[in-house]
């Protein structure tokens, strides 16, 4: 059995930051593995550890700078990794879910996985749509926002819980092959061990360009164009207490007492 798990390096913006054109000035940005993908990797590795013939392949779309991040997936137990990048992608503009799904579908066409695990969303652009779009491209079944997964390989079914709004979960049986988008809390992602980190250095990390995937720059052109990026006008009407912690705490205590709290 083969599991493809998609991972993305996401940007975190500092408390104070500046906008530079259509992006955040790089001085105020740090990069890390997407929180949701960390849970997807863990879910894949747990299935691999429970069976003896399961291969986990991590795939990412990103330039050479993202290698450290995808190596985290290898350090946590993925068997090998694929990084898709092409200069044409840097020029293509918005990498929307459709474009990303097209790229990953081309990888999946070669890898022929039984199960694809993605994160529910990425922490930076938060489209939350790449996994289901990918399923549609592959003709796979799918399930979005999965927070429990019980795989019956023999029957070819994934018994999942989908986390709905308001503390309600939907119990669903999904036929394989399938794409599942994984929600935080489904498991406890491991920390990479030193041994894992060392081993990751020697695991295969393949690079694919568009032409390697039989795609052309026209295939990754999106009809969505990002035209503006700005800080929203603050809607805040909050009274902000100023001063040292003692001073602000004292003011807050006064307010709370006024409201009958703690008195």
């Amino acid at each position: 059995m083969k599991i493809l798990v998609t991972v993305k390096e996401v940007a975190h913006v500092d408390d104070e930051f500046e906008i530079d054109g259509l992006g955040i000035d790089d001085r105020y940005v740090t990069y890390d593995l997407n929180e949701w993908d960390d849970y997807a990797v863990e879910a894949a590795v747990q299935i691999q550890e429970a069976g003896d013939d399961v291969e986990v392949v991590a795939v990412t779309i990103g330039d050479a700078d993202t290698e450290d991040t995808i190596r985290q997936a290898l350090a946590k137990g993925a068997d090998r990794a694929i990084r898709v990048w092409d200069d044409a992608l840097a020029d293509a503009g918005l990498l929307d879910p459709e474009t990303k799904a097209r790229l990953i579908a081309a990888v999946a066409a070669e890898e022929d996985p039984d199960l694809v695990l993605t994160g529910v969303q990425s922490a930076d652009d938060g489209f939350g749509a790449t996994g289901v779009t990918l399923a549609e491209h592959l003709g796979f079944e799918w399930g979005a926002v999965v927070n429990a997964l019980d795989l019956d390989r023999e029957a070819g079914i994934a018994h999942v819980h989908r986390e709905l709004e308001g503390s309600v979960e939907e119990l669903t049986d999904v036929e394989l092959p399938a794409v599942l988008t994984i929600q935080t809390g489904i498991n406890e992602p491991r920390y990479a061990s030193l041994r894992g980190i060392r081993q990751a250095q020697s695991k295969e990390l393949a690079e694919y360009s568009l032409s390697d995937l039989d795609l052309t720059p026209a295939d990754v052109e999106s009809s969505l164009e990002q035209t503006d990026l700005y800080e929203p006008e603050s809607e805040s009407e909050a009274t902000v207490f100023e001063g040292s912690a003692e001073e602000t705490a004292s003011e807050l205590a006064g307010l709370l007492r006024e409201k009958g709290v703690g008195s």
Partner: protein
């Protein structure tokens, strides 16, 4: 342009977002001089249609297929409805179920999709506004296409009001059962433990800013001092530091206490969905740009590890 929205219901209840989509859809239809259609799929479609018949709705399409949501059925039905109604814009909810079929529909139609939009405009072409980086910045997206699909963030548009005079038509979808490869077998309520945060007058709510599980002692001390209940944002429940009963937000509980004190919580949209109805909201956060301050009544922009002990001291704790 003709706008088609798709309603959402669960276990017999039409969800509010269905009526919000009508407002968003009507705005676009008005701006472009077009019609607003809405569709409801499955369940008691007649009763749902009555509720959807609000001012500004031109046509309601009822599709009597199944009781509950199934993404394979929804994807097929919506694709066929688009063929029949021929809309220029398809508007779906950015809910958990919306995200389970909208991307499949858009991809099948080969229409561009913009998810989680908070504003929509039309100026020769569709423009959509969405948030990035945990609501710290907003971005505008121009849609260079004649037809497009969007999912709309819940609670951004008001619900459509009044009773309308829409035509109600039943639509016969042709479902390919062999393509229905997922089965909903039931629902499960989660939580339901000993703590009832929905009943509390005062909530001391803690987020990822607390950093370590051990540091929670301080939060419980504060809660005890204030005779309050401890609640939390999701990461603390994901980490198993606190029980699911204590989670505030979209996938946890909706709370409306007299006082909600958010400590080290950024104010993500899924969190705010669960606490914005609180009478008085106090936020303690080091990041002056944290979105929690947008809905807070009082704020302290400082380190919780300094402020919380000082606050406990104020109350002689």
């Amino acid at each position: 342009m003709t706008v088609l929205t798709v309603a959402e219901h669960r276990r017999g209840e039409l969800r509010d977002v269905s009526l919000e989509l009508l407002t968003a859809g009507r705005e676009l239809a008005d701006a472009t001089g077009g019609e607003l259609h809405t569709a409801v799929i499955g369940g008691d479609v007649e009763a749902f249609a009555e509720r959807l018949n609000r001012v500004g709705v031109d046509a309601i399409h009822t599709v009597d297929e199944g009781e509950e949501f199934n993404h394979d059925v929804y994807t097929q039905v919506v694709t066929q409805l688009v063929e029949a109604v021929d809309p220029d814009l398809l508007v779906m909810p950015n809910s958990v179920n919306g995200l389970d079929y909208a991307p499949a529909v858009a991809s099948r139609l080969d229409w561009p999709l913009v998810t989680d939009v908070v504003d929509l405009g039309y100026d020769d072409e569709l423009t959509a506004t969405r948030e990035l980086y945990g609501s710290k910045v907003e971005t505008t997206i121009d849609v260079h296409a004649d037809r497009a699909a969007v999912t709309v963030r819940p609670a951004e548009w008001p619900v459509a009001e009044g009773s309308g005079d829409a035509t109600v038509e039943s639509f016969d979808a042709d479902i390919d059962e062999s393509a229905v490869r997922s089965t909903v077998t039931g629902f499960e309520e989660v939580g339901g433990g000993d703590v009832d945060i929905t009943d509390a007058d005062v909530l001391v709510s803690v987020g990822r800013g607390i950093e370590e599980e051990e540091n929670l002692d301080m939060i419980f001390d504060l809660a005890e001092t204030l005779d309050a209940t401890v609640s939390a944002s999701r990461p603390l429940i994901d980490n198993n530091w606190l029980e699911k009963d204590r989670q505030v937000g979209q996938s946890g509980s909706v709370v409306t206490p007299d006082v909600y004190i958010a400590i080290g919580i950024s104010g993500a949209v899924q969190h705010v969905a669960g606490m914005k109805g609180s009478d008085t909201i106090v936020a303690i956060n080091t990041d002056p740009n944290a979105p929690i301050f947008d809905i807070a009544d009082y704020g302290i922009q400082d380190d919780l590890f300094d402020v919380v002990p000082a606050l406990i001291e104020e109350f002689g704790g």
